[in-house]
Symmetry: D2
Subunit: 113 residues, 4 copies
């Protein structure tokens, strides 16, 4: 990953893609939250009947690997568009959340095995 | 966003956080896909009874704004951890998906406003 | 609805259907909870880009009406199988929940229109 | 389950409950589909970090058993309200779906072990 602007660049591509096709009226915050949830379920669906061993091997299977990549892309796409429409800085939100979690779940003392 | 490595840096922080607390056994691909879906629903839940106007204003409301940021962070956290555990390049997956969508949904001829 | 035993009868048909096809090993409580969530999302997906007016008319549209019926059936199917596998009395659980809700959300004084 | 009218009776209780509290404007088909999906995720959340053994034992654990019953009730509640608002006969929809599935997935010949 050498391009420092991939995340904002992808966010812009998504916004232009939707604008060029006049999709913005559909891209309300509530609809985007629904779409994100639906895509997360489509990703989960790939795993629903898999054993833990089959689940661990999804990226080595020629049928499931492209499906997983496709759904992961769809989840990120809607997450980025949701944040774009509401003016949320996604990476800052996660950095702040990890900071808060480090206080809520203090690192245990790690002197024993 | 001036730090070119924020996404990989966050991914590393999340991995170290889980390792320090011995959470990796729980972080199987299937469990992470479940957790991602659950967090996407928690984000959607904020909107479930809101009118379109209220939904558009969630980031200006002192009660809902932090909740939305918190859930958006949780969704990205599990998406990053899912990709990390399965060795998926998340940004490359989305870039490829947008490329495919540009073929599936060709840009309409846009000579009028 | 004249058959007093439709719900238990349907639950039995679903159990026999799965047994005849040797599907029970897949029907663990966790997998059934996943499947239920996935089907609920498939139902929601029908509505994701619809306006409130279009949403209200889904059962009058020849394309969406069968899809909605199909997904509603799938949601109930997995809910019944989930309860069957765990020995939960679904109707008793809902009756008890409504009782609890009547205490949590007391009926407002309703002397005016 | 001795009361032949439990499902329609529960549907009526839910409708009266909402009407008495003036909740009907919120209970649009789209919002009810969202709420159903959110509750299905809340049920799934109980299982997200559980091993298969822990998952099988949820109803014997004093902490998880009431949570599972509560969420199962919430899922059915929104499913019933969704069908009520759209005039869908839920049990008929499932009976028809099982009929279709018996054609799509024919019962295998069961003469061998």
């Amino acid at each position: 990953m050498t391009d420092p602007q991939q995340l904002p660049a992808l966010q812009r591509r998504l916004a232009e893609f939707a604008a060029a096709r006049r999709w913005q009226p559909f891209h309300t915050p509530k609809n985007l939250a629904i779409a994100l949830s639906v895509e997360a379920s489509e990703l989960l669906e790939i795993f629903q009947w898999l054993t833990p061993e089959q689940a661990a091997a999804v990226m080595t299977d020629a049928t499931t690997a492209p499906r997983v990549e496709d759904e992961v892309a769809d989840v990120l796409a809607y997450l980025l568009q949701f944040c774009d429409v509401l003016g949320i800085d996604l990476l800052a939100a996660l950095a702040a959340k990890i900071d808060r979690n480090e206080l809520r779940f203090p690192r245990p003392d790690d002197t024993t095995g």
